[in-house]
Symmetry: C2
Subunit: 215 residues, 2 copies
């Protein structure tokens, strides 16, 4: 039974954490009987998007407060995450990872990453604790590992997405929705989820493969 | 491969659809290769609750727009639901069912239910199409079936919750989180989910049993 920190970025794939990926991650962790603690940054969302129309809404929402919907209130501010207390780190995707945990949506490979997340990833890596990431979230790992370690990872089957990982010094590999790319040297495990066409059953396969390596 | 209508009540267990139940329902349906269409009422939420603190927020949100976060935009107004187009009906829980799809939260067994939902349930029942419901959602079925059919169903292991079903003329049965209560005569299938203590793996068992009866 491992203790796993799960970092969320809101609640909804267009402006926060991808809900399906987040819940399937929690299910996969529960099936392995791992102990989970969710975290999210206590900051305003970059945007609020109407998920019915795709249009931006004239609203302000807080990332931690909205992520608490997925976590049912069992969530802490990301600045309180100390990897000494956990055996593994997991980052579900959703565009919130590129909006609220980094500015990858705006700046691509020239992005910067939330410093609390970068610290947690670096601490996990240093302590050889496994790190999982789905969908767009591997891009944040790429930025954190840029210049430090050439990690094998995936953003799915689209070469242009994977090329962004390579520009940050990673070793990108194409993967289908039910596949995982494993970098056993650096203990980084990634699967594409919604970087590929919708396929919940395939996604659950991919996520379960990642979770199997977390403890 | 059945066509299943899934009725959501928002996004978040305190003021909308329970996110875990909704996503595990979608996963269970995907694993059976069923075709899914989500619906939600195009109305204001009764309340907006901060899921971190439990306090009410001074905000207005629309049930359909928020439910679209769970459905990734693949959702229609509940008034457009015509059971002629579907083989089964599924109602995930969450307090939104008692706030936005009915006023059960306020009035208990004296509640009234959203008329579009009541119509869909009655049409499904008349056509002998299976109906599934989780968590608190069976209470809405009880109100719709009151005076028409004494249906076996469950709100979990708590006698006081199940007693409310009996007051509406149902045949309540206690059930654990991984169990289903099946009324084969009326084709109504229910499982307690978060009416019981949190157990995602057990919930997925219970939901899968319900979904197995939907087609």
């Amino acid at each position: 039974m491992a203790k796993v920190a799960v970092v969320l970025s809101g609640c909804g794939h267009r402006d926060g954490a991808e809900i399906h990926e987040s819940v399937l991650t929690l299910l996969a962790l529960a099936l392995k009987k791992h102990k989970v603690q969710c975290f999210a940054p206590d900051i305003a969302q970059k945007k609020v998007i109407n998920h019915l129309t795709g249009e931006e809404m004239a609203e302000t929402r807080n990332v931690l407060v909205e992520a608490a919907r997925i976590a049912r209130g069992n969530i802490k501010p990301l600045e309180e995450l100390n990897m000494d207390d956990f055996d593994a780190l997991m980052l579900p995707g959703g565009f919130g990872a590129a909006l609220n945990l980094s500015d990858f949506a705006e700046k691509g490979e020239n992005c910067s990453v939330n410093p609390d997340l970068a610290k947690a990833v670096q601490e996990a890596h240093k302590s050889k604790k496994p790190i999982g990431a789905t969908c767009i979230a591997p891009a944040l790992l790429a930025k954190i590992f840029q210049g430090k370690a050439p990690v094998a990872m995936t953003l799915g089957s689209d070469p242009s997405a994977n090329e962004k990982l390579n520009k940050m010094g990673m070793k990108a590999e194409a993967a289908a929705v039910s596949e995982m790319v494993a970098d056993e040297e650096h203990k980084v495990y990634t699967t594409p989820c919604y970087m590929e066409p919708p396929d919940l059953a395939g996604m659950f396969d991919g996520i379960s493969k990642v979770v199997d390596r977390l403890g």
